[in-house]
Subunit: 442 residues, 2 copies
């Protein structure tokens, strides 16, 4: 073919080299393992939903990709209204209502899939990325025990990644809302929380100013509202400090008790990586209780690694049943991209091959294939070199692919030998029993 079309990368759609993809896959495997160790059940939903499903929760600020067939069959309207999902929460809500009678409740589900958003791409913001979600939902009511389980799951996952120090911030919207109510704010309590949420951006003084100007609060009330947001700590002393502010309100008290339960439950597991921070709001209005937000301690500008919370009702727009739940999501792609670009986490070797069997004469190939099959039978990953090229070529292939061992078949009276590519050591070995250690295979 004479005409060559030179493809370019598509902005916002990340594509990794094999060694970065190997790292990503190892992260996904680890996430799955932790999710499953807590009894979460996997589901996968189609990449597409009906547009009406995506929009049924009302206005969405996510830019949606709509599908059209290139050669549309005018008579077939069956796929006229499809679009790519922009998160996994809406598909999960739709899935739950559609298969309601076939699911076991409390339904602990996990979902690891790509989502698509037609946003303008910029550093750390992608148009296609992995989300890793867990949620627990139950008809009518859901015990607070699950609120305490989620940070334990997230902590175990992040510990396994080997990323730099992070903090899992936890708060409870009932504390915030009840406190505002106790201060006399009712209709404008939600607005006050939205202003409080800008604390990182505009500072405490900025928040105070907006509370006074936008909500017509007195300076005293504005300062009291801010006082709550300054409370943070690793243990239940935060509960005492909040109570010491002297607000009497049932919702406030309920929130404090829930937060106290979460902190007490988790203290032993997560230690000082868990921080109660009464300034945490979380953007979405639909959170109603516990909220979570995880940040890297030394990369504040990176934003949230993982966020979530408790909600009153998952799927009221699709089903006449109340489904309270609690859930969290990990933004895998952003985190991986950041860690690799910063050189903090090294990519893995591109293949999982443990050993390359070299072949220097065609007559050896049958033996090489037979040994390879034998080794695979005991769980090893084995390649047989594809030609009888010279030593340098074959070892060079293992080197480039970072294969940790190279095997030599018997020659000139010598028996089988295996070379450790890292140490350079070459020793006699029995193909029927040779086994590298787990560490050597990583």
């Amino acid at each position: 073919m004479s005409k060559i079309y030179k493809p370019r990368s598509i902005s916002g759609f990340p594509e990794w080299l094999p060694e970065v993809r190997a790292l990503e896959l190892s992260w996904i495997d680890h996430i799955r393992k932790v999710f499953e160790s807590y009894g979460f059940v996997n589901i996968e939903t189609p990449a597409v939903e009906e547009i009406d499903v995506l929009l049924s929760k009302g206005e969405t600020d996510k830019e949606i990709y709509v599908l059209n067939r290139l050669q549309a069959d005018e008579k077939d309207k069956s796929d006229a209204r499809l679009a790519l999902h922009f998160d996994l929460t809406v598909p999960f809500a739709r899935y739950t209502t559609q298969h309601f009678n076939e699911l076991t409740f409390p339904f602990k589900r996990y979902q690891i899939q790509k989502v698509w958003r037609g946003e303008r791409p910029q550093e750390g913001r992608f148009r296609e990325f992995y989300q890793c979600d867990i949620d627990i939902i139950n008809p009518e009511s859901l015990p607070v025990h699950f609120d305490a389980e989620i940070p334990a799951v997230i902590d175990e996952i992040l510990q396994g990644f080997g990323i730099p120090a992070y903090t899992i911030y936890v708060n409870n919207r009932k504390i915030l809302l009840g406190y505002m109510n106790g201060l006399g704010l009712t209709d404008n309590a939600a607005m006050a929380l939205r202003i409080l949420d800008k604390r990182d951006k505009i500072g405490p003084e900025g928040v105070k100013k907006q509370l006074i100007e936008d909500l017509k609060l007195s300076e005293e009330i504005a300062e009291k509202a801010l006082a709550l947001a300054t409370i943070k700590g690793n243990d239940v002393s935060v509960i005492e400090k909040a109570r010491a502010l002297g607000i009497k309100n049932d919702l406030f008290e309920e929130g404090l008790q829930e937060l106290e339960y979460v902190l007490k439950s988790l203290g032993g597991f997560v230690g000082n990586r868990l921080m109660a921070d009464l300034s945490i709001v979380r953007g979405f209005d639909y959170y109603t209780g516990t909220v979570y937000e995880t940040k890297l301690n030394d990369y504040p500008e990176f934003g949230t690694v993982s966020g979530g919370g408790r909600y009153e009702d998952l799927a009221g727009q699709y089903i006449a049943k109340k489904l309270p739940g609690v859930g969290i999501t990990i933004g895998l792609t952003r985190l991986l991209d950041k860690m690799v670009r910063e050189g903090i986490i090294k990519p893995k070797r591109p293949s999982r091959t443990d050993v390359l069997i070299t072949v220097f004469e065609d007559a050896q190939r049958a033996e090489a294939l037979s040994i390879a099959a034998q080794m695979r039978g005991r769980g090893l990953n084995v390649e047989v070199f594809h030609s009888t090229q010279k030593f340098q070529k074959q070892v060079g292939y293992a080197d480039k692919k970072e294969i940790p061992f190279v095997w030599f078949l018997p020659v000139d009276g010598k028996g089988h030998e295996v070379k450790n590519m890292k140490t350079g050591e070459q020793i006699a070995a029995d193909p029927a029993t040779w086994q590298p250690t787990v560490e050597e295979r990583t």
Copy 2:
């Protein structure tokens, strides 16, 4: 919210219940394990490609889904020409050319991703489905050893699924083309193969009729063309039978030698599940050597489970380099759907939870959580029941979720006990050391 939007299933986009998804995931894990055991390297490409990339190979009969943003920013044309990929071969070709200098050759890649085709849905034909592909490519030339490796990989995968008897058919297009050339067909040889390919549909008599009518062949030549297509067998005797037809042609002879090599290499591994069948053509024109086609012996109407072959040039439309290769794909979704619908393969249990720890008093919860953490530490998947509901409720949850063991904390002077849900047996057990067998955990 008062307005309820009742979602429906979207035709052609399969969605499984958790227990079928668990089966699918176990298949994908098995496929990965086998691919990796042969040294294949994973890549993942975006769901989308530029439309120009998808169409650059010329006409495509796959209906393509084009993306449009719902709230398109008129000034931003960066994503104006994107569409969902309809297979993994085109993205692989594009990937290889784009990252050419960073890859190690021979490049053995595997890719397990969903693809989308806007075809009219019908039984066994989906609009969204998983493809599982391997290919090996190398600049300029690629040894025939790899042609022999691929059926070994496919056989190991299919053996692990536990599906009913199947046959991996293998042929070589050089045999077919060389034979036709030897019969005097040159310009119309490709057309003759296309007619031969309809053998299953129109029968040998139909093929003969078309060869005579459409290509103006004599009855004698048409019969000779058909004679080749009747040769099949499990061993190299097929090579002798083909030579006995008396055609002298270099390409024919080259094909026979390649097929003989594949059969000899694989004989020991795949046994009578491998069948040389000189009638196999494989639709795509771009195959130039070995071709593969796997079918279920008792479900001929189901068609191809897995197909592939050798090609001269992967990516001539994107790069001025010759990249010969050999590859195969497994149509995972179709096969899984068929096996589950026919009741041949049973879904798995929805979760991987090994044991449910019951809690009948709030005071026990801390101990339950601590034991759960201890058990997870040694690799078990553990749930703690979320409330102190009565015995029936808690055991009922384990039963519905098919959790194989239920744990009872010490009570009334009795120690820890664990109940095997399958046998009903309940015995004393030590939470620090208790370990179910691999079989009990499956």
